[in-house]
Symmetry: C2
Subunit: 203 residues, 2 copies
């Protein structure tokens, strides 16, 4: 839970970025903390505090330069270097991720996929697909540290353990289970069912 | 932002549920707040406070009954009634959602899909697919209040406005933009790129 505070800051930064891109599209070049905060649902103080945390500076009179903010945020997320990922599980979600434009457009490359089903090795996906026992070899070859798990619940932890032993340090998990990982490994969860269920609560 | 606190509580409940299901699989029938908290990454006090918020009771000696907890959580999320959704955008993500087992298994039914591409109306998906201008009619027919947006960025707000005018009150948005909605409409965001990017930050 120690990373929680920092994780919320990061989420806000990604949120700021979405707002900034929209401002930029509308032709704006400068933004004040209160207008960015208003758009992003945060206070002006929060915006200034978040930016100063990463040494991002604005002027009281002129506000923040939007180009400068976007570059700074991209630096935080290392967007200017190539970001490599492997994908385990080439089912519905996995196949959608292979073709997901939001990755390709942003220097995120899925270098290889893994699946237990041999028919997946022959099918022509946009990435090569291998059996899971080749994970250590491919991870080493590409020096990749990040993996996406999109396998059914029952194989989630087995695949996770295999990834950890191959040296993976960051996991995006679509499998609906809580993964057991050591403290130096970070896991983000996307649970599509949970996202829908909180909506039904409010209705 | 007013709903934020409550939203975090709901997320914790869904997290508790995942843990409880795992406990149950391991043969446990009772659980104490500290063991559930430990598994879910929350304090025992937090667990007790969350449960008491919804009138869920345990005993100091025997802990909480796991069956009772799971039923109570399912009640909170209205899992025992049929939960209907429409889906706009039958691209990669949309098609994955149509076949997503996590919805089907949990009484969540996508009743219809919508897409601008006429070839999608002919293809045999597991749900009927219509042009977006039929959204108001289908929403009325099924009395559905919840929608998933899985369209490209550029059409996100247009589709959102169409959904709102048809009476939709809750949206799960996969489109990478912030939607403008009135205060009585709730939006959950799933931004797959952002989920991956926070991982790259930590590496």
């Amino acid at each position: 839970m120690a990373q929680n505070y920092s994780h919320n800051v990061l989420k806000r930064f990604l949120h700021y970025r979405q707002c900034l891109i929209q401002f930029q599209r509308h032709g704006f070049r400068k933004v004040f903390s209160y207008s960015l905060g208003k758009e992003a649902g945060a206070s002006a103080e929060q915006v200034r505090k978040d930016f100063s945390l990463f040494g991002i500076k604005g002027s009281r009179r002129g506000g923040y330069d939007i180009d400068y903010l976007l570059n700074s945020i991209n630096d935080i997320f290392k967007q200017n270097s190539e970001r490599l990922v492997i994908l385990v599980g080439i089912g519905n979600i996995g196949q959608a991720l292979i073709n997901y434009e939001g990755f390709k457009e942003n220097n995120i490359h899925i270098v290889a996929g893994f699946d237990l089903d041999p028919s997946k090795y022959i099918k022509r996906f946009a990435i090569p697909v291998y059996p899971p026992d080749r994970i250590p070899e491919i991870v080493r070859q590409y020096g990749v540290k990040t993996a996406i798990i999109a396998v059914p619940e029952i194989s989630g932890q087995v695949i996770c353990d295999l990834l950890l032993s191959a040296g993976i340090k960051a996991i995006l998990n679509f499998s609906p289970i809580l993964l057991k990982v050591p403290d130096d490994v970070i896991v983000n969860y996307v649970n599509l069912r949970n996202e829908l269920e909180t909506l039904f609560f409010y209705l």
